[in-house]
Amino acid sequence: MDIKLFATLLDPAILFFFLGIFAALVRSNLEIPAPIAKFLSLYLLMAIGIKGGVALSVSGFHMQMLVGLAIALFMAFLVPLYTFPLLRRKLDGFNAAAIAATYGSVSAVTFIAAGQFLDNQGIEYGGYMAVALVIMEAPAVIMAVGLAAMTRASLAKHGAGAAVTNIGQHDGSFSLKKILHESFTDGAILLLMGSLLIGFIVGAESYKVMKPFTGDLFKGLLAFFLLEMGILVARRIREMKGVGPFLIAFAFLIPVVNAVIVITLSHLAGLSAGDTLMLAVLAASASYIVVPAVVRVAIPEANPGLYFGMALALTFPFNVVLGIPMYYQMIQLL
């Protein structure tokens, strides 16, 4: 890793992330009230949505965009497909399906951190990446719910008492329609898509009015948000002690494997370095906002401490601190 890339660790936002971790580790009473942290996360989504929409209005629709979105969609299906059997070696079907869904889906905050990384490097990326983020949200959950239903059916077939009968009845209660509805009407996704559309409609000229809020304040508010994320991560890390080496290795290695697949595909398709990095980060990230909320209802048998904890406490900090510069380095090598 060269000095310029090492300097990304000295980015104020990343340093505030470390500060949050430190504060939680020394059991400081530093905390950002939940409503403010929630506001910050919504603000960041609005800002990247509108920025992406404006960029899209400038660039227009092009072939590269379709290729990029096709890679995004391909990864959203591929990741749960290959991680589920891998996870089944050590876990029951429900936990395997829930973790596969979490890793098949995406993390908006990691995406934002990658965008910031590219801005610092002076590299542009396509506005359509916000669309890629949205379309990668649902497929993994749909597949995981299907896999969990198969597990339920298998348990019911082998007869394990009343509880299983009840579980069997549960199959139809969380339909495909409901999952899609929950995924696309989730507040975060709705705001992101809405902001993207607004940015696309207003275009670059009208965006100037919004820029002091969605552009100039962005970096400072991102740093503030990552401070809170650091606190959350450190609190969760303590609970990861009993997870075991297999899942810890999974949380660190699967993101790298996914990123390598995307970088290879994007390279073959001739995508730009900026687009490749954003797609790689999307594929490498794991969801801890939308998917855990949906999976909790759709696969209640799975332990949220596992899939939520792994995504937030292990994969998120790995990607933000090491993953993003490492994937960028890989792209530079090609």
């Binding site: 939940a34 942290a37 929630k38 996360s41 429900f94 009343a162 509880a163 009840n166 579980i167 549960h170 809170e228 959350l232 609190r235 969760r236 609970e239 801890y288 906002i289 998917v291 855990p292 909320a293 949906v294 999976v295 909790r296 209802v297 696969i299 209640p300 048998e301 799975a302 332990n303 949220p304 401490g305 939520f308 904890g309």
Partner: protein, 108 residues
Amino acid sequence: MRRLEQKKLLTIITSRAFEKIIIEAVRMRGVGGYTVVQASSGAGASGTQAGMFDGDSNILIYIIMSEARLVTVLDDLEDMMNRGYRIKAVVTDISILPRKNASGASTN
């Protein structure tokens, strides 16, 4: 003074992700009134609930109802718990000052 009415207070502690599904279920049992309170933080078998995302936020749902209705609601909650939903249900005997006189209809 109006006569105090004997009721049951059901307190459900659960994930915010289950709010809609539980409210839908109790409404089906004829419950018209309830109060939902967001917990600032907590911890349990699902790990720390920091209260920031829907997936790590706990809520408390308060419902006042008659014993007869409570039995049906508890049946639904038990069914959900059998499916794996992480729910804590606490029932308390309470006395409330009714909105109407004892002869009038109660809210739940």
